[in-house]
């Protein structure tokens, strides 16, 4: 039967040529719009690496009537810090709150800041790597950032515990991707990491930190794989800068986040209106991520792909319906003959649908050289080359996207063919042969 259908297709090559050309163009176009989204979706389903449910952060601003006037810098710092501590304690002592953390202004999920500087290890033979996102937490007796963020230990998968409790020297925790890229291994607790370059001993105490923990991958946005990022731990709030620090908190199970947010804004915020730590806004980690994704255009890309896929698949549907409708009319005699020698409606429908399936298959196969050329030329950012995620492989993305567009095109083409063929196959043989 396949051989016969091939012959049919070949005999009507001029009429089939148009629809085949359209299928080739659509296969290529669908691929170019979908490959990126297939990759982003594969990234999206990876675990976040931290707990975003129930975690919020409070953005601060300088109060409307508060003025530092001409006070000295040290005095300004101390005014800011005393108000900051007071607000922190107020939040921490709320019965709804499980834990609080002091976080630098760019150290929450979805923060817009990025870092272009490099990091090196103690071993100068090691490569210098870039870490696009490094974050700072202030740790002291009041705060528990590990609980607020819910980071997990890379070795055990359990909640991360710090190797050392005291801060004798600058300390930090790094993601498993960071450890692998800089050291080539993950058991790096106790190793030193230098900012930019290794300075001579004793020249700058803040130019390095010691690793006190390695956590599982931590996704900066929903649509990227967990990359190389790190947290530097410090015991002090530096300077007076309401933009540079936020208060993060995690709510207890069963607490309504929105209700608590409203309570803060109505009961706590007014007390700080005229202080250097007036409350500007409260966002959940989820809302912050959404804003990041909006700005990065992640959702726009999905919409674009969905709209374009809908458009071209509708074109396939209309093309198949139109072409097969015209062809069924032209082949009424053939259909009549087939019916008169005993072919059932189902047999005729199956034959035409097999033709449509073969056209789509041939179209997608012919588009492959174009697709391979496109994917070969595509710039491909790999967040973590040491992790070997399947979605970072061009081959796997090509196969996955090809499979997806092939299934979509076959389904739409079969539907577009079935409608006119079903109609034509209903004709009685005598009626169909009358034209002969």
């Amino acid at each position: 039967m396949i051989k016969m259908i091939f012959k049919q297709l070949w005999n009507q090559r001029r009429q089939n040529g148009w629809i085949l050309l359209e299928l080739i163009v659509i296969a290529f176009f669908l691929f170019t719009t979908s490959a990126e989204v297939v990759r982003a979706t594969a990234n999206y389903v990876l675990p976040d690496g931290y707990e975003k449910e129930k975690s919020y952060f409070i953005e601060l601003k300088e109060g409307s009537k508060f003025r530092y006037a001409r006070r000295e810098r040290e005095i300004r710092d101390s005014i800011f810090q005393s108000h900051f501590r007071q607000l922190l304690l107020t939040i921490k002592q709320s019965p709804e709150v499980e834990a609080v953390a002091i976080v630098r202004g760019d150290s929450y999920p979805g923060a817009l800041s990025s870092n272009g500087n490099g990091f090196v290890s103690d071993d100068t033979a090691c490569v210098r790597i870039k870490c696009p996102w490094y974050q700072t937490f202030v740790i002291d007796g009041t705060t528990d950032f590990l609980k607020v963020y819910g980071l997990k230990d890379a070795r055990t998968g359990e909640p991360l515990q710090l190797a050392k409790a005291k801060l004798a020297c600058p300390q930090g925790i790094v993601s498993v991707a960071f450890a692998r890229q800089l050291f080539g291994r993950t058991d790096v607790t106790g190793e030193k990491v230098h900012f930019g370059k290794k300075l001579p001993e004793g020249s700058d105490a803040n130019n390095y930190f010691e690793i006190v923990g390695v956590y599982e991958g931590y996704k900066r946005s929903n649509f990227h794989v967990p990359g190389n990022n790190l947290f530097v731990l410090t015991s002090t709030i530096r300077g007076r800068n309401e933009f540079n620090h936020v208060i993060a908190y995690r709510l207890k199970e069963g607490v309504d986040g929105n209700a608590f947010r409203e309570r803060i804004m109505s009961e706590i915020a007014p007390h700080y209106e005229t202080t250097p730590t007036a409350i500007k806004d409260i966002k959940s980690f989820g809302e912050s991520l959404k804003r990041f994704n909006d700005l990065a255009g992640a959702y726009s890309r999905y919409r674009y792909t969905a709209v374009m896929a809908f458009f071209v698949l509708l074109c396939v549907f209309l093309g198949m319906t139109g072409t097969f409708w015209v062809r069924c009319r032209a082949r009424r005699q053939e259909i009549g003959l087939m019916r008169s020698i005993g072919a059932s409606q189902a047999t005729i429908t199956r034959q035409f649908m097999t033709e449509a399936w073969m056209l789509v298959t041939i179209g997608v196969l012919i588009a492959q050289p174009l697709i391979i050329h496109y994917i070969h030329e595509l710039e491909w950012d790999i967040t973590d080359p040491t992790a070997h995620y399947w979605q970072d492989s061009k081959t796997w993305i090509t196969l996955a996207t090809d499979g997806l567009i092939y299934i979509l095109m076959v389904l739409i083409a079969l539907l577009g063919t079935w409608l006119p063929v079903k109609q034509a196959a209903k004709d009685l043989p005598a009626e169909a042969l009358r034209d002969e």
Binding site: Q15, E22, G116, G196, D294, S300, G319, G322, R327
Partner: protein
């Protein structure tokens, strides 16, 4: 003759209802998406209120300062107010507007004194030249001046809708409001603008000098900061001269401050090109090729579809063509007839498509403007962009719709018809379907 073509086209429509329906839907779909592409880009790049000077505008969005001797670098999304003043001195720009960007901004509380959170809206910090670059229509009062900015006057210009929501009237000059923690006096009310013009949009505009950090930008990198700098050339043709003056101004600054070099990365760029320039330099060629690829896909795929159907129909009409040729009709007159018939259908589809495009833009304004972008510039205000009739019913848009119809008609009908006309009269008369 044209009447005969139309009558024949109408008869064909009546005879082949399914063909006509598929043709009109296919054309409408292609035209709808093509028009959405046109309208979205028209709103972004054409001179629309209050960004009517887009054709004369050059933009600096981000700066990098690379220190000598491997001392690292500063990269900033924007520039400092000082850069605005410096460029005003060093160039012949008609206006150098410095203002806070909306990227990453969230609406803040706005209200009468003591009722700070009556409304939520975007508050923008701007200098006096902002009002020269953007052509806001003042329905009450006037813009604040350079003197107001320099003397840190607590003044504001507000949108008409904010005035109406807060006071129930628009003649509110002299009234006081609170915006982003500032107690300010209203000096002007402007006709509403839309989030669809995100560079200029705000609910309230206050002097840039009211920013707490106005005079405390980084000492080592005084040209870097948190603002955008837009320059207005005296005319479109003067832009290239102005661009060279800006580059020269930076070169001069770097020569006077030898500890580092500013990287402009192709800036200042034309207003429309700045939409595409995020992290790296983008060339005009790259942008145009991308748009052409999209346009080609939007018109070429349906054209192939229609060509396939027209080709099949031309096979059915071979006998008719043979008879007409036998009675002396030239290939050109038959070609004209077929193109005319199809143009009638294409225009019908085009009108349907244009209406669909308007409907989609009106109902999906929340996300439609960022459909073709790699980032969303319109979600910051948390309200849907208002699409005005000026943006939708421009002669350019109607002209583009007709042009797209014509192009689609020619691409889809020409080749099948020419192929059908290649048969001899005998072959045509013998053909039977």
């Amino acid at each position: 003759m044209f009447k005969i073509y139309l009558r024949q086209a109408w008869n064909l429509v009546k005879q082949n209802k399914l063909f006509t329906s598929i043709y009109v839907i296919g054309t409408g779909l292609a035209i709808a998406l093509t028009m959405i592409l046109f309208i979205v880009h028209y709103i972004k790049f054409a001179p629309v209120y209050p960004e009517e000077n887009r054709g004369e505008t050059l933009v600096i969005r981000r700066l990098t300062l690379r220190y000598n001797d491997d001392q690292g670098m500063y990269q900033s999304n924007c520039c400092s107010p000082y850069l605005g003043k410096y460029l005003k001195e060093q160039t012949r720009a008609e206006a150098v507007a410095v203002f806070s960007p909306n990227t990453g901004k969230s609406p803040v509380g706005i209200g009468k004194p003591g009722e700070a959170n009556q409304l939520r809206g975007i508050v923008k910090l701007v200098n006096a030249d902002f009002w020269k670059l953007f052509t806001f229509q003042f329905i009450n009062g006037k813009p604040f001046t350079e003197v107001d900015v320099d003397s840190k006057q607590q003044v504001a210009v507000i949108q008409e809708e904010i005035a109406l929501q807060l006071f129930g009237r628009t003649d509110v000059t002299g009234e006081r409001i609170q915006a982003e923690g500032q107690d300010v006096k209203i000096v002007g009310v402007v006709k509403n603008s839309s989030v669809a013009t995100p560079d200029s949009y705000a609910a309230v505009w206050i002097p840039i000098s009211l920013d707490n950090k106005y005079s405390t930008e980084m000492k080592r990198a005084e040209l870097l900061g948190r603002y955008q700098v837009y320059l207005k050339a005296t005319s479109g043709s003067e832009k290239e001269i102005l661009k060279q003056e800006v580059i020269e101004a930076f070169r001069k600054y770097d020569a006077d401050h030898p500890d580092g070099i500013h990287e402009l990365k192709g800036q200042p760029v034309e207003d429309w090109l700045s939409y595409y320039q995020h992290d790296k330099e983008v060339s005009v060629k790259e942008v145009v090729l991308e748009l052409l690829y999209l346009l080609l896909a939007l018109l070429f795929i349906p054209a192939l579809n229609l060509s396939g159907m027209i080709s099949s129909r031309m096979d059915q009409r071979q006998v008719e063509i043979g008879v007409r040729k036998a009675y002396g009709a030239s290939n050109w007159s038959i070609l004209r007839q077929v193109l005319g018939e199809n143009l009638a259908l294409t225009v019908a589809g085009g009108i349907v498509g244009l209406l669909i495009a308007y409907l989609i833009i009106a109902t999906c304004s929340q996300w439609i403007l960022s459909l073709f972008d790699n980032r969303d510039l319109y979600s910051f205000a948390e309200i849907s962009p208002r699409i005005t009739p000026e943006m939708l019913f421009s002669p350019w848009i109607i002209g583009c719709a007709f042009g797209a119809c014509l192009l689609l008609n020619i691409i889809s009908a020409l080749i099948p018809t020419v192929w059908a006309l290649r048969h001899s009269i005998i072959e045509s008369l013998h053909s039977k379907l």
